[in-house]
């Protein structure tokens, strides 16, 4: 499989601790914000989304927070596990004439220490 390169911000977290991954976005017109997870050697995988009129959404062990005032998005992972080690991408979705357009951020690598 394939994976992203090495020049990524990295978050090291102890197994069992909570992780917070941050993302700044640029387009005020984006209607959804999404988090993808990319494990080593694999393609990205959808984790969770949040609509632009919400400020918080919870999933299984993950919570996404949206602050539109400062154009900031965060992903919180509770009780981080070794399987959470991956690169995490935020993405913003905008509606255009040809359909949905996804714009991805640069990614953050999460390393879980045993």
């Amino acid at each position: 499989g394939e994976s992203v390169g090495l020049h990524l911000p990295t978050l090291s977290v102890q197994e069992g601790d909570n992780s917070i991954i941050n993302c700044a976005y640029s387009n005020s017109a984006s209607d959804y914000f999404i988090w993808y997870k990319q494990e080593s050697g694999k393609g990205p995988q959808f984790i969770i989304d949040i609509r632009s009129n919400m400020d918080k959404r919870q999933g299984q062990r993950v919570t996404v927070l949206l602050n539109k005032t400062v154009k900031h998005l965060s992903l919180q992972i509770a009780a981080t596990q070794p399987g959470d080690s991956a690169v995490y991408f935020c993405a913003e979705n905008t509606m255009e004439a040809a359909g949905n357009k996804l714009t991805f951020g640069g990614g953050t690598r999460v390393l879980v220490k045993p």
């Binding site: 499989g1 394939e2 999404i34 694999k42 993405a91 359909g99 357009k101």
Partner: protein
């Protein structure tokens, strides 16, 4: 990987040669996408398709062309490869054309 395969998985080629990457899906999804992934840039959309023979450009389409002659296959062609096209290429599919996309395993292309 949601019934998506990419071929080849690795390729090394020389500047100026044509290269074709293939994406094959078994999900019968209408929408298909080609992205490239480079350090510090996340994923950037090259081209996408919203049906057989229906394609459109993404943000980094220069130097690339695509074709979709049947639902299950989406081909990405580099007519004359350049070193700046060295990258990891991902194909993705979507049933609705929305933001939940399913990605293939990727192809690492090196242009010398």
């Amino acid at each position: 990987d949601a019934g998506i395969t990419q071929s080849p998985r690795h390729k090394v080629t020389e500047t100026g040669t044509p290269v074709t990457l293939r994406c094959h899906q078994t999900e019968n999804h209408r929408y298909m996408y080609w992205y490239r992934q480079d350090p510090g840039h996340g994923l950037r959309l090259i081209h996408y398709s919203y049906g057989v023979k229906d394609t459109d450009k993404g943000e980094v389409s220069d130097g690339y062309s695509v074709s979709r002659s049947k639902t299950e296959d989406f081909l990405l062609t580099l007519e004359s490869a350049t070193s700046s096209q060295t990258s990891v290429y991902f194909c993705a599919i979507s049933f609705t054309g929305g933001y939940e996309q399913f990605f293939g395993p990727g192809t690492r292309l090196t242009v010398l």
